[in-house]
């Protein structure tokens, strides 16, 4: 019987297989950041162990880094200590690091792909759940906890429980104004925050094939929001074209050998998935979340749901709690929900195509009175590219704030946070209570919806824009 993409990558990394034991898998690339690594390095020190493969390990600073005044000492002493700890550990153990101020610094899941370190058929781990992003290349990539970070540092392997496979097949063409973000939010709403549990998802079908690498990363990024172990997309010409010429992409004969291998990875025709989900791309519309978990989402044209309409008692209670926290009334059209802030950025939507999409909508217009908009590029490279294209000027002319690279308001570990009760349309990945700041309220949206929302001051799609919000600059 044929094998799926995920099974092929898994099989190619089994170091040891024994009855009654989990498979021991080799890890090709280990990404580190400041938040989940200090206790792992401490463990190594206590046991007197080195980092086994510093040449397969790379660190960047992202979660705590400020997006203003980056040339000054970090104001928060606790954040400063955490970043200094990473730098100290990297030096002591010989790990390559891209610190704040370095041209390669940025959100860890933006940095790996842009350097060409993330390649098809690899195993990639990081102490961060959004490691699933790298699955867009046909890599088996997943987030791990700090104990596992220490395990990979010490052994370059992980003992892993077997997984199941789920095909998410999206056929057809995405309508105008509907993006990868809308697609993945719709998938999560359909299968639920636990629907992917134990599964590696493989996104397939003509709608997926036609997506750019950056859009594919947006989709795989949020696989974890469906509870999945990982999300993957088979590598194809789009993948190879993205990789070719990047700093760590193979060259010459190595390139040809690599492509020959990568072409073998696609799921075999006769492979069988443990579960299958079908989605018609043509039926999708801009999608937003109304609740406090990413599965609580609806088309922008819908109303805030009535908890009484949920058959499952757990879902009903969750919806009641969510509406209370979000300050929303059942039955309110989502388009009437006013926002105080808009955030464009994160490992989900902080890449150049996302910034271009938002800028195209803001160009020549002003954001609504009383709305604060933050645009945070996913990496320094993305920021430099945006500046070269003049996008920064579009954002600032529209009244948005153009910031330095980092995770920023996705999780508010740095000073970029919502105030209690503030409502934000955010291109990030989680709408949990307090995620963007204590008491803050998050609606997950695409960059296009974020930009339109900033202009209107209420949740909106680009198609809603009329001339009266367009102001000549």
């Amino acid at each position: 019987m044929g094998r799926t993409l995920a099974e092929k990558v898994w099989d190619d990394h089994v170091v040891r297989r024994a009855e009654g034991e989990p498979d021991l898998l080799y890890i090709d690339l280990h990404l580190l950041h400041e938040v989940t690594s200090p206790q792992a390095f401490d463990g190594l020190r206590l046991a007197g162990r080195p980092v086994r493969r510093t040449d397969l390990t790379i660190a960047t600073e992202d979660h705590n880094t400020p997006t203003l005044d980056i040339d000054k000492p970090i104001a928060d002493p606790v954040s400063r200590v955490q970043l200094e700890t990473l730098r100290k550990n990297a030096e002591e153990f010989g790990v390559r690091i891209h610190s704040l101020g370095d041209v390669e610094q940025g959100v860890v899941h933006v940095v790996g792909p842009q350097l060409g370190l993330t390649q098809p058929g690899m195993t990639v781990v990081c102490g961060d759940s959004h490691t699933s992003t790298h699955g867009a290349f046909g890599a088996l990539a997943f987030g791990i906890g700090t104990s596992q970070v220490e395990h990979v540092l010490a052994t370059q392997t992980l003992p892993l429980a077997p997984f199941k496979t789920m095909a998410i097949t999206v056929e057809g063409e995405l309508p105008e104004g509907v993006t990868a973000k809308d697609l993945i939010l719709a998938v999560i709403a359909k299968i639920g925050t636990g629907g992917g549990q134990g599964y590696v998802l493989e996104y397939r079908g003509s709608a997926i094939r036609s997506l750019s690498m950056e859009a594919r990363m947006t989709i795989c990024n949020m696989s974890i929001e469906a509870g999945a172990r990982a999300g993957m997309i088979a590598p194809d010409r789009t993948t190879f074209d993205y990789l070719q010429g990047r700093p760590h992409a193979p060259q010459g004969e190595d390139w040809d050998a690599a492509v020959a291998y990568w072409e073998t990875l696609a799921t075999d025709e006769d492979a069988v998935f443990d579960a299958e989900v079908f989605i018609d791309a043509a039926e999708l519309t801009p999608f937003v979340t109304w609740g406090t978990n990413p599965g609580q989402g609806a088309p922008l044209g819908a109303n805030v749901p009535d908890p009484a309409d949920f058959a499952d008692p757990q879902e009903r209670i969750a919806a009641e709690n969510a509406l209370k926290y979000m300050g929303l009334e059942a039955g309110t059209p989502l388009r009437e929900v006013k926002v105080d802030a808009v955030f464009v950025g994160s490992c989900t939507n902080g890449r150049i195509e996302d910034l271009r999409a938002a800028a195209a909508i803001l160009d020549g217009r002003r954001i609504a009175e009383g709305v604060r908009m933050l645009v945070v590029p996913g990496s320094v490279r993305v920021a430099l590219q945006a500046v070269e294209e003049g996008l920064d000027k579009v954002f600032t002319a529209a009244g948005a704030e153009w910031r330095h690279a980092g995770c920023s308001m996705c999780l508010g570990m740095n000073p970029d946070q919502l105030a209690p009760g503030e409502r934000c349309a955010s291109t990030s990945n989680r709408n949990f209570e307090g995620r963007q700041g204590k008491g803050g309220r998050t609606h997950l949206v695409s960059p296009q919806v974020a930009a339109a929302t900033a202009l209107v001051g209420r949740l909106a799609a680009p198609a809603d824009l009329t001339d009266n919000v367009a102001v000549e600059v």
């Binding site: 080799y26 086994r52 390649q119 925050t193 636990g194 757990q314 879902e315 209670i317 969750a318």
Partner: protein, 198 residues
Amino acid sequence: MEKFTTHTGRAVPLRRSNVDTDQIIPAHWLKKVTRSGFEDGLFEAWRKDESFVLNQPERKGATVLVAGPEFGTGSSREHAVWALQNYGFQAVISSRFADIFRGNSLKNGLLTVVLPQETVERLWALTEADPTAEITVDLEAREVRAEGVTAPFELDDNVRWRLLNGLDDISITLQNEGDIAAFEAKRPSYKPRTQPVA
């Protein structure tokens, strides 16, 4: 890791689904570089509400958390496990756990037990009616026991063996160093290395 064999203690019934890792330990706590001192951050936002179950005096000293489905959804932060342990919890019972949280818990000796939702409901009813009611989580027998409830649970044999013996994963893996080295010797030259390129 501490061994886990069997544990008996009072419970905290947490009637919530999708208890995400940002609720268990909010992000600003993750700046700490230790594995201890997270107890005050546990459910920090919810604890500001006096009526929250953890704030009820009769729940003081409880060691078994009984929660709704999708417990631990969200980020990979192991701090969520440390916060529960630092606070004093030894076991968490739910009908579904998020994968990464579950893996993290079992690597730290916090036993996460999956029971059917109807059993969780019975444990909620029991411990809400009687805060002194105790729950026994018996890993040797793979069984949860409380008044009127005897519920078997499943746990992978290998994971159970590691927990019962308090074994450190890294030492076990390093016993297979030869296998790792042999695998590394076959690494194709096209696979990338992180050393800076000229």
